[in-house]
Symmetry: C2
Subunit: 593 residues, 2 copies
């Protein structure tokens, strides 16, 4: 009988659905078969649901322990100090290192066994960007070690161990990102789920810790400035150790650190998002037809978008320089700096809104079916875009309330209102544009979801399953260099082309479609690249100290110092993440258009 | 040709998948057919994705405006007062009333047209419970009106208008819940999406506002208590109006209000969760085979669970009474009250943990396939359980950090630690138990997903599609009384039984299975009912003023008053919601077991 048919092969949830058509056997046989199938799927599904929830709960609690420690540190009491938090994070990083080593070792041992890869999980340019951010994090670690060496007589050794472990962790993690992040894990699922979840939340905790240090540094600067302007009796907490530096470079190290923080922060949040996608992919049965790479991006007809984007970028750097120097001076100069910022912001956001709106109009005119295939990476992108908008929206609505409720009338009162409303509108339009772009079927040759198109079907179904769509480059080729990996898209395109040779139809069909991007696509590409550069600009400003929400005084009057600071500590990091994430998503839009 | 085949029928996303098997026509015809299908699905899908995001953004921003107003009120400044917030909420409620009237009017006009219903969307007992909560809310509104009448010479008329509108809103919304919440909307999708989203976020805002009032009231009481004990210089904000009450009942009204707040708060959050499920259902194509009701629950063999649960409930009420009276007195009595609470909590949680763990062990021993059919209601249940645990976990980890870091040594120091760890463990186990229960296939006669079972298939497929699984009780019978609706499950069971008469096979098959619940099921039912009553107990305690986290002083020492109060203001409402939501989920578990 069929009893042993599939017990030792991998989980096939699709089993039940696919086999209901076999109607030749008797009623009794059918019943037995159904029972076997149910038992089979029980044996498979059961631990999965459980381990998903359990690992999620584990990760959440790890983060919350860190959160509790951070809250205690924020009180600046004597009982819980930063060393406690750093020791905790160091332990987590060491655990993650051990898990990554185990994972790579296990993969190495079964090098004959090919691992499925989810090609949507990440792109080469994201990994390249992350490598750059990781390099800057390494420099930060070096500065930290230097700082520790200077003060080693009076600070805890944890401050020396932490950067060393963090540097090792960074190097190992970048290696992991390049070679394993796309893996669809099918062995030791439960254990790996915990490992990946641990990695996700370790990175999230590192992000939180970075955000906290950065916010505290910024707040101290702000208080110092208010104090210099004669505002007051705000206590400034000095985290300086109480002995002299034994080298001459300590202050250089500690000052430079804060210019590197923004990069370190973005690095950790991006890695945790990617690891989360890896976690979602564990045990997933890939849809073979949808799992296919696009070919290389064309840059034909890209003129207006990049030029306008560069103008925006250049003016942003100018505004940043003027703002940061003027805001330290007298009340008069400070107000004019804030006014200038708002005017600049309104112009910028008006351009961005119109760009996004034109993109949406083009989509309205050009109907293409939406792509409903399963794709955890895209799903997460959408949720993160939406979720991280919330911080900025809250900040803007607070500003609106403050402008309408405040009794003070600084010169920038109404520009602040217009700016805040534009921020809300711009995020709405941009979210719509990005999400719609990501959910559209790519119109070009490699249209992955034309299920009824007979040519493509005939070709893909002639391939052996493991080669169809899923890239099966397992660990067997770990030594290929980065240039090869940078050309991954092209390469995989070639793979398909050569695989398609048995049938000539799709090649010619494809070529006809590829000929050149239409006008619509060109406009879309320009819009995407313009929005991308604008988002970089709007990331640079708050990341490097241009935060008029602290300096304009309106919100502080209506909400009070502590509530408004809390709102900003919550909203500014979310806004920074939003901008960076939009940049990544818009690059994807640019490539797809 | 096929060009006009399906353009004016409803969206069929499944089209593309289902028709790829028709391989008789020529290649050219196939291509045209594919194109038509793509255009069709484009015309259908497009506005849907957009309206989803747009309405989500609209709702979020409505909530954030309310949030900004609340933050400004929390500062107690002169510019933004509670009247502003109440006017805003009143406008939102009036808008929602208008939408509900429009919706019902439109449904009335097309009374010939049957509306599909999602039977999973809610159950009759949840609606019954909500009606009870709504009644208590109405009493609250009456108290508010009375309070306004007393002070009408010196308070804003908004305080009079608000309760009247709120009462109308409550009545209309309960009517909507009974007759329309299960509707699967397929007409005017975009507009209705906005309407439902508006309703969701209006209720969420009402929840937030209730939580804020309640937290402020509690905090003022706490400060008053600290002041009476000689602790200090904390300013208490008196929201009392500055004129005398013209009737004799004002203080009675304002004091009673706070006993009704917990019910009002739960009412709004539950309604918003149900409306969210309705929003998710808009335009959904129901899986006809999975959309079927279970028959009535048996209560055979329910002894130990209810008895233990009643013991828990009774002891809880005792503990509450002792705690609330003792905590107001001297430091000594206060410490003993807190100690008593922790000891009681540890015993209670230990029992709950073991009950949950035994439930999980029974599931381990009794393998049943997990139910993977689409069910937005269940999905939301899972996410809400997990999400609302976070608040309580954070609070507990803060307590753990405080116990380990604090220099003070009150008698309840280590019991606090054990209690906090038990809280974390208990939530983990209970979440696992509930989620696993909800995702298991119901084992009984109406097993909805036995796709290969030929008898059931033959029966259901002999029915006309609109009668198959989906209840088509549209607005045509709005006047049947509540008793009928309470018997809905039985009724629908009878419907199936009578519909099944053409074939006798499933009836006998079913009866054999129904005979009596097995021992495992009996144990599970007892566990579910015990946990349910324990969760009610753990809801009652914080809802009616037993919050040792405010009174034990340990956390306040380590985190400082303002940080710890912020944590509690965030975590306590989440914890209250968690308990109530667990009660609802555990009742569902009880019915399914």
């Amino acid at each position: 009988m069929v009893e042993h048919s599939g017990l030792d092969i991998m989980c096939l949830n699709t089993y039940c659905h696919s086999s209901s058509s076999s109607s030749s056997s008797s009623e009794h046989d059918k019943k037995i078969f159904t029972k076997i199938k149910l038992n089979l799927s029980a044996a498979c599904d059961y631990p999965r649901k459980n381990s998903e929830i359990l690992s999620g709960q584990y990760g959440t609690n790890v983060l919350l322990i860190g959160g509790a420690l951070m809250l205690a540190i924020a009180h600046h009491g004597p009982s819980v100090t930063e060393e406690h938090l750093l020791s905790f994070i160091t332990c987590l990083m060491i655990l993650q290192l051990m898990w990554m080593m185990w994972y790579i070792w296990i993969r190495d041992r079964r090098s004959d066994h090919r691992t499925e890869k989810d090609v949507h999980a990440t792109t080469c340019w994201i990994r390249g960007g992350l490598t750059l951010l990781a390099l800057l994090s390494l420099i930060m670690d070096a500065f930290r070690v230097g700082y520790y060496v200077g003060f080693n007589s009076c600070v805890s050794p944890v401050l020396g161990v932490y950067p060393v472990v963090h540097a090792t962790h960074t190097v190992a993690q970048v290696h992991f990102l390049w070679f394993h992040i796309k893996d669809v894990i099918k062995k030791f699922e439960t254990f790996e789920r915990f490992g990946v979840m641990h990695a996700v939340f370790t990175n999230l905790l590192l992000w939180c810790s970075g955000v906290m240090s950065e916010a505290e540094h910024f707040l101290n600067n702000h208080k110092r400035r208010l104090y210099a302007l004669g505002y007051g009796n705000l206590t400034i907490v000095h985290p300086e150790p109480n002995c002299n530096c034994s080298t001459s470079t300590c202050s250089m190290f500690s000052n430079s650190l804060y210019y590197l923080y923004p990069f370190n922060i973005e690095y950790h949040i991006f890695v945790s998002a990617m690891l989360y996608v890896m976690w979602k992919n564990i045990g997933r049965v890939l849809d073979l037809t949808a799992n296919r790479k696009r070919s290389a991006t064309e840059t034909h007809g890209l003129i207006l978008g990049p030029i306008l984007g560069l103008v925006a970028l250049a003016s942003t750097i100018g505004v940043l320089a003027v703002y940061v120097t003027h805001v330290e001076e007298s009340l008069q100069t400070r107000q004019s700096a804030v006014s200038m910022f708002y005017c600049y912001g309104i112009v910028m956001l008006a351009f961005m809104c119109s760009a996004g709106a034109s993109g949406l109009l083009i989509y309205r005119a050009d109907r293409v079916p939406s792509d409903t295939s399963e794709n955890p990476s895209r799903q997460l992108d959408t949720e993160l875009l939406f979720g991280s908008s919330v911080g900025s929206w809250l900040m803007s609505w607070c500003s609106v309330v403050a402008v309408l409720g405040s009794a003070a009338t600084p010169p920038y009162r109404w520009t602040n209102l217009v700016y805040s409303l534009f921020i809300i509108l711009e995020k709405c339009v941009q979210n719509l544009f990005i999400i719609e772009s990501l959910y559209r079927h790519p119109e070009d040759r490699d249209d992955p979801d034309l299920p009824a198109s007979p040519e493509i079907f005939s070709v893909t179904s002639s391939l052996a399953p493991p080669y169809n769509g899923i890239l099966n480059r397992a660990y067997e080729a770990p030594d290929r260099d980065c240039v090869t990996m940078d050309n991954e898209q092209v390469e995989s395109g070639q793979v398909y082309r050569s695989q398609r040779k048995p049938s000539k139809v799709p090649l010619t069909e494809g070529n006809k479609l590829v000929e050149g991007p239409s006008i619509k696509r060109r406009v879309l590409k320009n819009i995407a690249i313009f929005l991308l550069m604008c988002n970089i600009s709007l990331w640079i400003l708050p990341a490097f100290g241009c935060r008029p929400q602290y300096d304009n005084g309106l919100e502080q009057e209506v909400f009070g110092f502590s509530i408004w600071t809390t709102v900003l500590n919550f909203a500014v990091p979310m806004n920074l993440f939003y901008r960076m994430h939009s940049v990544a998503s818009l690059f994807e839009v640019f490539r797809r258009a």
